[in-house]
């Protein structure tokens, strides 16, 4: 990030208005086990909606948040919060077990190899995705996608420099929103940006 980009980033951080989703009387689901527990709780109690439970304490910009109320008798609310400290998590297996598996399984290996990357770059790609996603999410540079009991998905643009060239490959990656500014990678490649 050069000085000008850093200045633009700082301005965006402080001008972006954030809200936090609240579902009274329930704990936020910080991982997959807690999300699954919320669904069980919703199924057993019949009083709560698993989608609402799994949105508890998730952070959104005012312009890009799920509609509220989400459904009749929804008792969710939102509160204004200061700029978030975004954290992005990305398993290296998204590259070793998906992107770089045999071309017979999917065509992503071919695509990334075309840009000069192979399985030995998995750790670099993991760090690059985390870095770009954290910056993008913290300034609200994301696209709101589907919402269900799994949680709220967002798309974030990733730009990768093609090795041995000054060109960049730009495409969508998909992430799941977790409470308190955390996002987790779902798919490293969600489609090309036309």
């Amino acid at each position: 990030m050069n000085l000008q980009e850093a200045e633009t980033y700082a301005k965006k951080i402080f001008s972006t208005k954030w809200i936090q989703w609240k579902h009274k009387g329930s704990k936020p689901a910080n991982d997959k086990i807690e999300k699954t527990k919320n669904v069980l709780l919703a199924n057993l109690s019949k009083k709560h909606c698993s989608t609402c439970l799994n949105l508890n304490e998730c952070c959104f910009t005012i312009e890009k948040m799920p509609p509220i109320p989400l459904h009749p008798n929804c008792h969710c609310s939102v509160i204004s919060i200061p700029p978030i400290t975004a954290t992005a998590e990305c398993s290296i297996r998204k590259f070793t077990n998906y992107i770089f598996v045999s071309s017979a399984v999917n065509n992503k290996k071919e695509l990334f190899e075309l840009w000069g990357y192979d399985i030995t770059d998995s750790e670099y790609l993991q760090n690059e995705f985390i870095k770009q996603a954290q910056i993008a999410y913290s300034i609200g540079d994301y696209e709101l996608k589907s919402l269900d009991a799994f949680g709220q998905r967002i798309n974030i643009k990733i730009s990768l420099k093609k090795k041995g060239s000054n060109e960049y490959a730009t495409f969508f990656s998909s992430w799941m929103i977790y409470p308190n500014g955390k996002i987790m990678l779902i798919t490293p490649y969600g489609g090309k940006i036309k």
């Binding site: 997959k32 699954t36 077990n97 998906y98 589907s146 009991a149 799994f150 798919t187 969600g190 489609g191």
Partner: protein
């Protein structure tokens, strides 16, 4: 059935066709969770679409066509 497995949609149901998904379409399980008997599937062979659909699908409506190594 687990994350990273490649799967095929083996039924034609309105809840999937409404989202542009049809029997025979192929994707991969992109989330470790199984919720209400459903898996989150990214249909990453639909290269003509601007972006790949990521949809929760009932496990019974899927067939594994490639098992990801552990």
């Amino acid at each position: 059935m687990k994350e990273y497995d490649k799967v095929e949609l083996i039924v034609e149901k309105s809840k999937y066709t409404n989202k542009g998904l049809h029997k025979g379409m192929v994707g991969w399980i992109c989330d470790p969770k199984k919720i209400n008997g459903q898996r989150l599937v990214c249909f990453d062979t639909l290269d003509d679409l601007p972006e790949y659909p990521i949809v929760s699908i009932e496990e019974d409506d899927l067939k594994i066509i490639w098992v990801s190594p552990d």
